[in-house]
Symmetry: C2
Subunit: 208 residues, 2 copies
DNA sequence: GGAAGTTAATCAAACGATTGATTAATTTTG
DNA sequence: CAAAATTAATCAATCGTTTGATTAACTTCC
């Protein structure tokens, strides 16, 4: 007989993440989290100390997974342009398979009321930006790329990806894109990857 | 003696917009709005019916101002590329002089809990997207531009602008960009305009 | 090996504080 | 004086958190 041991602690984290993504931090009550997770209300404070404790734990877990992924790319013995293509692909894959969380992260980024969380997200993003920074500068120095505004290129890469998953896009008249549909998700993801790779190739190698 | 007639109704709108931008809709209480505006709490309901009424009025006022600006551009007798440059400039100017509101709009866009507001914002953005759409397609058809992924170009233009004003950017080590400083705001705005105009020029005319 | 002790997990109920909203009375205005 | 604007006081509802009690699963000890 299967014991069906669903860890209540994890259930709370899962429910809270879902609700925070959908209705925001202040828009989600501990009672909702309790109901959605099947755990008693007191368990939230028992395990995490507070509602904010739950939020912090979610963000920490996610951001940890973020950091430990892209660092290998820069050590490959490939050209700057190929590195850039790989980073775009890796970044797109991460965002497109965690859209709800990515939205939540951006929402938190636009608020001034949790400065510590803002800093944490900022630092996590900074790591990605530094990596991009290094690759592009290396490319400029070794003559692969023309002399461009590095920070703005980074804003374009990250901004394009974020815009595609957050802003509403129509696929045709009256038919909006649904990224929660795996098929559409894959199609759009590959489309934005192709677009960005093409864009940086043309732009960065145009004025050598 | 100056009568100092500060309309209470407008004072509420101003205070509420400031607070909604800073701490979000659910994160702002009617008592905060009351205190910040100097109006009695009951005045909020007296004038706007409810807290949400205040929010809707703010969004409606702003979005109205949004729509009535860009439509003339497309009638100018200039090339598709020049139109595109103008739109980038106009869009950047609007965003950079309404950063707080732009953040609030994007925050609202990432929530699912106020569908009517979501639709309103979506429609307002759609107008801008349609304009861009038209210009780029015209350019492709008259041979000015190569055959590109139009929707993705739009995502790049809008995404880049949004990323610059929302995501944290460093100007140097330990020194973050402060867009509320008019001087820095102007410098960064002109930098992103130059970048985007350059980018679309190079990219769109590269594979004719 | 079984009674006694210890622990983490879970619960219903209640806590004080705060929420958005409303009332009824008062002041200001035209 | 009537209408509009403004006020303090109050409302029920909900908020995040805490409480004291109970359960079930292990240890410890004789």
């Amino acid at each position: 007989m299967k014991t069906e041991k669903v860890d209540k602690k994890q259930a709370i984290l899962d429910a809270a993440e879902k609700l925070f993504c959908e209705t925001g931090y202040e828009g989600t009550s501990t009672r909702q989290i309790s109901k959605e997770s099947g755990a008693n209300m007191a368990m939230i404070n028992y395990y995490f100390g507070s509602k904010e404790g739950v939020f912090i734990e979610i963000m920490n877990n996610r951001i940890e997974g973020f950091a430990s992924q892209l660092k290998i790319i820069n050590e490959d013995k490939i050209s700057a342009l190929e590195k850039l293509h790989k980073v775009i692909e890796g970044y797109a894959n991460r965002i497109f398979s965690n859209i709800a969380f990515h939205k939540m992260m951006h929402r938190e980024l636009s608020l001034t009321q949790r400065p510590d969380m803002y800093d944490k997200i900022k630092n996590a993003m900074s790591r990605n930006m530094s990596l991009l920074d290094r690759i592009i500068i290396d490319g400029i120095e070794d003559g692969s790329f023309g002399n461009v505004d590095v920070r703005m290129i980074i804003a374009t890469i990250m901004g394009t990806l974020t815009n595609v998953v957050i802003a509403p896009h129509k696929i045709s008249k009256d038919k909006a894109i649904d990224l929660s549909n795996p098929k559409e998700n894959k199609i759009i993801k590959e489309r934005v990857i192709a677009h960005l790779q093409n864009l940086v190739t043309v732009y960065l190698t145009s004025k050598k």
